[in-house]
Each structure stands twice: as structure tokens, then as C-alpha cells.
């Protein structure tokens, strides 16, 4: 299995949508073949269309707000005492997380196709919140599918969705989390694909959704590349990019523009959710060697039993609480371009405490997983190493969990 140079990774799949010949594809009911093919044709044309790119960039700049900040975490660097620690503050983006890029692009596509309704899944509630914002902006009706357990634990984002006029549809099947929300959303699309557009909230699902999402979040690394050159005059000789990985959209977007660099120069570290340290359950299929299986239309490493039933996951972070992982990351793992590891619930909480103690930055529980590993590794790295963590979400949505686990003082200033 080989990663090609100078070809965007999203375009390295084969005719049937498989990366490396085995990850991804289109394991979908016959009914969805046509809408998926239509979306493929539309996207393949528009992604090279100057006017469409101009339109995208206009909304990215004026509405989402680009570029998001790239800042040095001086106090944290001093405290850790190793590599220089920096952060790309993607939570600056309108709505507070990277999910806005994919949501905006899907709404632009839906609008052009003349669709009136757009549906989407959400776990942490960010994908749903952003889709509801973009739908409102572009005059589309919006339905969001969300596990009943996640509705309970991510109330601030649920409120935001409703305020934007979206229908939030609770999903009670299975584990009542993201995996069930995506299933229910796909089922709704099967029954309504003639009138309704679907947005998948991460780089997962049938191949076209993986590609559209990866294309959209790549805005993050496009900005970062410019910011690095402005700051250092070049791409640093020792650069390490840490990102949490749920479905894999923020991490893929954070890395994409650096894909062709030697990994000795630009290393990618993906941090999955290890779950509670006392539990066997986790949401880290790459770290813990899960087998390849089919989930939500794509072949990927996925937590499952020997029969092929998808296993329940457990994580304090609703956004990472997913048994599968993007085919893009399976591909990056097997080609050894990226390295994957996990942080437990407790480690993420601890990292959140450290970051908020030393910096004026409040990463949500998802990026706190990445901070945990970055802090640990930075300690052992030389001063000329540049460590960057994608702070891809704001902790406001987690206030309930943080208060319960850490006490009131950690949420007051939010």
C-alpha cells in the first residue's frame, strides 16, 4: 500500500472508492446509488471550478472567519520544558469548531442542486450545530439526528441547533450515541433522497462523503502552512502535528497540506479516545488493532465482535465516541504516514486542567485528548521542535461534564 505524492489523498481512491484497495467504498442500499452518483458528479466538477472555489472562499472568509489563529502557548511551553508548544485555534471559527467547513460546503452543494432540506448526524453536537447554522444561512430546512445519550450530555449545542430552527431528532436505538445517529440519518436519506440532501458530519460514510469532508476541512492546513512560513520563514525542520481523531475530519484537514513532506520533518500524530481508564471499552480502533469491517457504507478498522456486530464504545467525549474511523486514516496508518495513539478520559481531563491553568485557551474534551499526548511527548523533545495541537473545539459545550468531573471552578469563566 502506497501513498502517492502530488495527488490529493481524497483523490487517491480507486474507481470503486477504495483507498489502498481496501478502505472506504460504497456499501450502500441500491436506492442510494443514484443520489451518491449525482453527488459525485457534482463534486468532481465543482471542486475544480474557479467560481465555486471563489464562492466557497468568500463564505469561509467572511462568514466562518479565516484564518483562525496560530498562537504560541508560552506558559505551557515553559511549564512542560521541552519542545515549543503552539496551537492552531480552529475553535475561533464561527460556531466554535471545524465542523463548520464541511457543513458550509454541503449546504452550498445542496443549494446548487435545488434541494430544500438538508439532514445530518451529530455526536458532540458541533456537526449538528454547524449544519443548522449553515442551513439557516442558505435558506434550507434542517433535520439533525442525535443519540438520546448525547442529547443529554451536550445540551448547549442542542439548544443552539433548536435556536437555529433545526429539528433535533433523538435516536433511541443501540447505544444512543453517534453510531446510531449516523445509521438513523442514513435511513432517513434512503426514504427521502429525492428531495433531501445529506451531510455526513465527519470523514466517514460512503466514499463521496469522506472526500467532500476532507476537502472542506483542509482549509485548516492551508491556513497553517501560510502562518508557519510567516512565523518561521519556512516549514520548520522538526514539526509535529497533534490532533484528536473521532471520525477523523479535523485531523485530516489539519494534515492534508503537509502530506508530501517527509514524516521525519512533519510528523502526524492522531489521538483516539481510550475511554475510562478502568473500562475495556474504548473508541480507538486504530490504537487497539480493531479488525477491518463495514460500517456506514465504508470498509474501515472498526470495533466489532467476531460475528461482525458493531461494538459499543465508551468515551467522555461525545465527539470521539465512535466505533469506526475514516478510511483516510486507515490508509494513513497502513502507509505509516501517520501515527496513532490514545488518551483516556482521565488523561484528557487532566490535560484540560493543565491547559486552562497556563493558557487563555479552553479546548473541549476532544482536543484535550490531543493535548494530553502532546504535553507528554513535548517534554522529551528538543527546543527546536515545533509541536502544534489543533484546538478544534471550545469547551463551552462540555460545561456540564466538566463541572461534574472537576468542580465548578473549571466552568465559571466560560
Amino acid at each position: 500500500m502506497k501513498l502517492k505524492k502530488r495527488i490529493p489523498v481524497i483523490d487517491q481512491g480507486d474507481r470503486l472508492g477504495f483507498w489502498g484497495g481496501k478502505f472506504g467504498g460504497n456499501f450502500v442500499p441500491e436506492t442510494l446509488k443514484k443520489p451518491i452518483e449525482d453527488l459525485e458528479m457534482q463534486f468532481n466538477k465543482l471542486k475544480n471550478d474557479k467560481n465555486f472555489i471563489k464562492e466557497r472562499d468568500k463564505y469561509f472568509k467572511n462568514w466562518i472567519g479565516t484564518p483562525t489563529r496560530f498562537i504560541k502557548l508560552n506558559n505551557l511551553t515553559k511549564h512542560v520544558g521541552g519542545a515549543q508548544i503552539w496551537s492552531k485555534v480552529v475553535s475561533d471559527a464561527n460556531g466554535g469548531a471545524h465542523k463548520i467547513y464541511n457543513a458550509t460546503v454541503h449546504c452550498l452543494l445542496a443549494k446548487r442542486k435545488g434541494k430544500k432540506v438538508i439532514i445530518g448526524d451529530t455526536g458532540a453536537g458541533y456537526a449538528g450545530k454547524m449544519l443548522s447554522m449553515a442551513a439557516k444561512k442558505f435558506g434550507l430546512k434542517c433535520k439533525i439526528f442525535m443519540g438520546a445519550k448525547d442529547i443529554k450530555r451536550q445540551q448547549p449545542n442542542v439548544k443552539a441547533m433548536k435556536k437555529n430552527g433545526a429539528d433535533v431528532i433523538p435516536v433511541y436505538s443501540g447505544s444512543q450515541t453517534l453510531v446510531d445517529a449516523v445509521s438513523e440519518c442514513m435511513r432517513y436519506w434512503v426514504a427521502n433522497c429525492d428531495t433531501t440532501a445529506m451531510c455526513v458530519g465527519s470523514t466517514v460514510g460512503p466514499a463521496i462523503f469522506v472526500r467532500i469532508c476532507g476537502w472542506s476541512t483542509s482549509q485548516i492546513s492551508r491556513e497553517l502552512k501560510v502562518q508557519l512560513i510567516n512565523e518561521f520563514g519556512e516549514i520548520p525542520k522538526k514539526l509535529k502535528l497533534y490532533n484528536c481523531v473521532g471520525g477523523g475530519s479535523s485531523s485530516f484537514g489539519f494534515w492534508n497540506e503537509f502530506m508530501d513532506y517527509n514524516k521525519k520533518q512533519v510528523e502526524f500524530i492522531g489521538v483516539e479516545a481510550g475511554g475510562p481508564s478502568k473500562s475495556k471499552r474504548h473508541a480507538a480502533p486504530l490504537t487497539y488493532g480493531s479488525k477491518i469491517g463495514i460500517l456506514h457504507g465504508a470498509a474501515q478498522y472498526v470495533n466489532q465482535n467476531s460475528d461482525g456486530q458493531i461494538e459499543e464504545t465508551e468515551s467522555i467525549s461525545a465527539g470521539l465516541d465512535y466505533p469506526g474511523i475514516s478510511p483516510l486514516h486507515c490508509f494513513l496508518k497502513d502507509t505509516k504516514r501517520a501515527r496513532y495513539t490514545a488518551a483516556s478520559d482521565e488523561e484528557a481531563l487532566k490535560a484540560y486542567q493543565i491547559v486552562t491553568k497556563y493558557e487563555n485557551l479552553r479546548p473541549s474534551l476532544e482536543p484535550s485528548h490531543a493535548f494530553s499526548v502532546a504535553i507528554k511527548e513535548a517534554k522529551k523533545l528538543s527546543k527546536d521542535t515545533i509541536v502544534i495541537i489543533n484546538s478544534c473545539g471550545d469547551a463551552y459545550k462540555d460545561r456540564g461534564i466538566l463541572e461534574k468531573r472537576l468542580g465548578k471552578k473549571y466552568v465559571k469563566s466560560n
Partner: protein, 266 residues
């Protein structure tokens, strides 16, 4: 010699009626009971679809999900499902069996192993909901080699060009999904339009047995008497759920329902 599925269609045709296909989930509500249900409805139905329960079903509505979760919760495993089929096949009034499920279950078992077990236990056909054409080309060839009918699905969104290619690659039986819906949806398209699409398929592929499924219930079934076959699934699963919550015997109730369905198309 005709395979058992084609024979079942032929028999129904000789009686001037569509074949009746039922769908029940293996292991719903227990291994034993699902076997009893198969044996009981086998007296009325022509072909039995046996659902292989999966916990992330992207095309099933509420009723079949409920049945599937019930079966999984009761611990049903792939090997139990094969056992149910082979026990059923030993009963005196057994009928052809078609598995309906999702590809991951086959993938984890290993395609070749899976087909070997199908042959051993007496499974005659396979419907794999999330393995569409052309992705299913290799696997369907393997099925054919093993004398197992791989049943291609067609839907209202299938283009004419696709329709031609898919029917060309299909075996003796094809399945037309009546409308844009998961299983268990209300029939939201007029029977006339469904039959027009059905006739289009029959024109392209007159020799293949084409069944219609999704939205077929006691209420709607008599609209489709002039077809090769009809599938009833969700209504049966719902009847099992209803029987259980009323503390009645699902075997008797489901058997009654299937007998009624048969009368409506005879």
C-alpha cells in the same frame, strides 16, 4: 433441473398466483421460537426470507430493528442462525430459504466459509442489502458457483442503464424495492406506479422471477396479484412484537397472518 427457488415460483405460477415470501428475523424472539415460526409459516408461504440481525442496519425501519435487537440481545450468533436453517430444512414441510442481511456479517465469516456453511445448512439464496452492483460482481459469481442464488436489488432510483446491467448479472430471482423507504414504511406510491416499474423490469428481463417488497401488508397485497412474487416482512415482525407484549403466542398469530396473506393473493 430447476433450483428450489425457481421451483417455488413455478409452483405458484401453476396455481395462477404470485409466490408469497415472508421475512422473519433469525433468533426473534429466541432461537427456538424463530425456528417454530419458520416451521409454522412454511405451511402457507412459498419462500422464507430469514433476516440475519445486524446492529447498524442502514435500510431497516422500526419493526425490523426491534426484532433484530431482540434477537441480538438474546445472544444470537451466526452459527446459531445456520443451525436454525439446517433444523428447519430437516422438517417435513420445509421451503427454500433466503438469507437477508448486511455484508459485514459475511465479510467477518469469510465469503468462502460463509458460502460453504450456507450450502451445508440448506440456504438457497442471499440478499445482501448493502452490497450493490457492481460491488457485488465477484461475490455473486462465487454464489453462482456454489449454486446459491444471489438476489440483486432494484429500486425506483435505479437508472435504465443500471437496470439493464444489473438484470444481466442477476440470477433467477430479482427483488424490486417498491418505493424510497426503509423497510416498514407505509406504501406511499400508488400500486399503479409500482406495477409500471415492475412491468418495465419484466420487459427487460422476462425470464427472471421478480418480486416486489417494502410496504406490502394485508392491506396492500391484493393490489399486486399479477406479479411473480411478493415479500411481507415488517408486518410480520410487528405481529411478533404485538404478540409478545400481549403475552400471546407469536407462532400461532404469525401463522394466522401468513395464511390470511396467502388467501388474499390466491
Amino acid at each position: 433441473m430447476l433450483n428450489p427457488i425457481s421451483l417455488a415460483f413455478k409452483k405458484a405460477k401453476n396455481e395462477s398466483r404470485p409466490a408469497l415470501l415472508t421475512y422473519t428475523v433469525a433468533g426473534d424472539s429466541s432461537k427456538k421460537q424463530s425456528l417454530e415460526i419458520l416451521k409454522a409459516i412454511s405451511n402457507h408461504a412459498d419462500i422464507l426470507e430469514v433476516g440475519v440481525p445486524h446492529n447498524t442496519p442502514v435500510a431497516d425501519g422500526g419493526q425490523i430493528q426491534t426484532s433484530s435487537y431482540r434477537a441480538i440481545k438474546n445472544g444470537i450468533k451466526m452459527n446459531d442462525i445456520f443451525k436454525i436453517v439446517s433444523d428447519f430444512k430437516k422438517s417435513k414441510n420445509s421451503k427454500p430459504v433466503i438469507f437477508m442481511g448486511y455484508y459485514n456479517m459475511i465479510y467477518q465469516y469469510g465469503e468462502n466459509n460463509f458460502l460453504k456453511k450456507c450450502k451445508q445448512s440448506g440456504v438457497n439464496g442471499l440478499i445482501v442489502v448493502d452490497l450493490p452492483w457492481p460491488e457485488n460482481k465477484n461475490f455473486s459469481k462465487k454464489c453462482k458457483k456454489n449454486l446459491i442464488n444471489f438476489i440483486q436489488l432494484l429500486s425506483p432510483t435505479t437508472s435504465n442503464k443500471r437496470l439493464k446491467s444489473i438484470t444481466k448479472d442477476s440470477h433467477d430471482m430479482i427483488y424490486y424495492i417498491s418505493m424510497l423507504s426503509t423497510t416498514g414504511g407505509k406504501l406511499k406510491v400508488s400500486p399503479k406506479r409500482i406495477l409500471a416499474n415492475y412491468n418495465k423490469i419484466k420487459k427487460i428481463s422476462p425470464k427472471k422471477n421478480c418480486v416486489i417488497g417494502f410496504g406490502i401488508t394485508e392491506k396492500t397485497i391484493s393490489n399486486f396479484k399479477n406479479t411473480d412474487g411478493l415479500v411481507v416482512g415488517s408486518q410480520i415482525c410487528k405481529e411478533i412484537t404485538r404478540s409478545l407484549s400481549n403475552r400471546q403466542n407469536p407462532v400461532i398469530n404469525v401463522s394466522k397472518m401468513v395464511s390470511k396473506l396467502k388467501k388474499k393473493i390466491s
